[in-house]
Symmetry: C2
Subunit: 357 residues, 2 copies
């Protein structure tokens, strides 16, 4: 039973980082992992090719795949698009929604070899290991009604709706509680329940779930305080669970605490364990095509894929070990290089991981 | 023409920090500033006294005041209130809305004496001086419809509405452009225009205003990237303008970059220059009544008040100098004390500022 992996390179540095990740997948195949690989365009690349950010053919392939590896989407070339439905990001959002990928896992992990890269003091971040569980198919990203209108008097206004159903909250809550069980047993739910009714419901549902997980210690934090605490003392967190919008913001802040967002993978899972895997960072159009991009986040996304969707933890571990080894050998792409390390290209980094595999 | 200042101590550490700020106001009065001082309860204290977080009598006093000094509101005692309209925070939100205090200025300034207090590396934050301009009376905080409902099938859901009119965006935009003119001429508008229609309008309006301020360089940033950039390289920012919710989150993160949120004042202004002034930090119920709170943010809020609402820049400057002087003398409240400094109580800190005034 060969597993079917769809690679969606996307825009900006997407093609070059997924190219290296593909090499790693091929190395796994050479070592007994039974997979087939396919590729398709998404985002701006798809707009350029077919006029839409997610062609129905690509969506069908994605639905049929056992797992998806995504590079990144978006760039200034398509930023002027007034119609939100025709922007590269829409391709990503449609994939998440159509595949039901509600459970977004975003680790913020500091590699001991890279503690220097952080803008925070070493004692504040060394050993940092947070898992952010972000709800990915609901909230204000998808709420209706939404739009822009002009009133009769000519005044323009814009509106979006932040809405959650209890079952949407409960299912992401379960993912987070289970994650906390597998980690250090602490779960912090982030909301703005002192102002927003939708997040009061969020808090209630988390509290209702808590008795089912007596081994997990649940706490609540307002989103403004969470943003502050991430800066002040990030090691206080184990697992954080939050909605789509707050998760977008906090996961990027948390990732940047490590100083090496080029290292951080992510997974987006649906109820049947099918998943899309992608680096936490964006498409970085400013450095695209120059061999400056760090492929390790995408390569580590492959490791997450093997663990969560393909049940191949052995291969996952080998990839992670190979990454650790190239870091130990002081190989660094531009984003994480500093005096005393050896700066290498995107491609050389990919090759080094494959060689260490 | 005596000016009328209303002090709203609020909850937690609110009473003790406003007490010290009041001393400073009295010192100004002794030195020729023609003011009268009044006090009223707000937030949890008002709930305890009268059952509502903002009594109509207090609101009337606030409307009649030339300026308002607020301590902080909220605490676990009132957190269980299911009805958002009866929570302490509602008193604060109602004041903002009823007085039309749409322009929230939140400086994130690092005092050179306190660079050690930051969790970031000194080279990343020394000299940090950001002004965050947050829209305060619109957006998702006040959008309708909002609430919690149970559907016919028994499913609960919650919802809030993120909405902006073009005139709301334009007037906060003007505040921000003018602020950038007075500072270093750079304005970064933060939105999520790749996903939310309401913030596409936000971006459009900022772009429409730009030609009126040719001396200001306008840029745009997505909120997730802004959260990241604040952690990575905060000194890239001069003025940031954003909506109510994003401003809540980013201003707290920015404040915490300094490591001394106990030092940061804020102003909330309406169209006629009337203002409410308060520390950036919250009510910190865990340390209330122990003399541990830092009164300097509230004292510096008085300085902002004198500058923006009472047209007394001379007195404002004297307060700021007095604060600088006590820091130079190494006096520190618990939150900013470190080995080699002299830890003093809330009250002693207030007295020291008055003595240096
Ligand atoms: C590109 C954008 C639509 C997306 C999001 O906001 O979810 C990205 O920022 C992310 O976090 O994956
Ligand atoms: C207390 C709360 C309602 C308030 C807000 O969210 O605006 C506070 O966090 C602030 O930033 O002033």
């Amino acid at each position: 039973m060969s597993r079917n992996i769809l690679i969606l390179p996307g825009d900006g540095i997407g093609p070059e980082i997924t190219r290296e990740a593909r090499r790693v997948l091929e190395a796994c195949r050479d070592e007994g992992l039974d997979i087939t690989l396919d590729e398709a365009p998404v985002g701006g690349a798809a707009i350029d090719a077919s006029g839409v950010p997610l062609a129905s053919e690509t969506l069908e392939k994605a639905k049929a795949a056992d797992a998806i590896l995504l590079g990144a989407v978006g760039g200034p070339k398509w930023d002027a698009m007034e119609d939100i439905g025709k922007r590269p990001e829409k391709g990503l959002l449609a994939l998440r929604k159509e595949l039901g990928l509600f459970g977004n896992l975003r680790p913020a992990l500091l590699y001991p070899q890279l503690v220097e890269a952080s803008s925070l003091k070493p004692e504040v971040v060394s050993g940092l290991d947070i898992m952010i569980v972000r709800e990915l198919t609901g909230g204000i990203y998808f709420g209706q009604p939404r739009g822009r209108d002009t009133r009769e008097d000519g005044t323009r206004h814009g509106y979006n709706t932040y809405v959650y159903d209890e079952h949407e909250i409960r299912r992401i809550g379960r993912v987070a509680f289970e994650m906390a069980q597998k980690r250090n047993g602490r779960l912090c739910s982030v909301d703005k329940a002192n102002v927003l009714e939708v997040t009061m419901l969020w808090r209630d549902i988390m509290n209702e779930l808590a008795p089912e997980y007596p081994d997990v210690e649940l706490s609540h934090m307002y989103v403004d305080n969470a943003a502050m605490q991430l800066v002040r003392a990030p090691k206080q967190f184990d697992v954080i669970v939050t909605g789509n919008m707050f998760g977008d913001i906090l996961s990027d802040a948390a990732a940047m605490l490590t100083g090496s967002i080029g290292m951080l993978p992510s997974a987006s899972l649906n109820e049947s364990g099918q998943g899309m895997y992608e680096p936490c960072h964006g498409s970085a159009p400013d450095i695209a095509g120059q061999g400056l991009a760090n492929p390790l986040a995408t390569i580590l996304s492959v490791a997450m894929m093997l663990r969560y969707s393909l049940n191949a933890p052995g291969h996952a571990e080998r990839i992670e070990q190979a990454v650790g080894e190239v870091l130990d050998r002081n190989l660094r792409t531009a984003d994480i290089a500093y005096p005393g390390t050896e700066q290498v290209t995107t491609e050389a980094m990919g090759e080094a991981v494959v060689a260490a595999f």
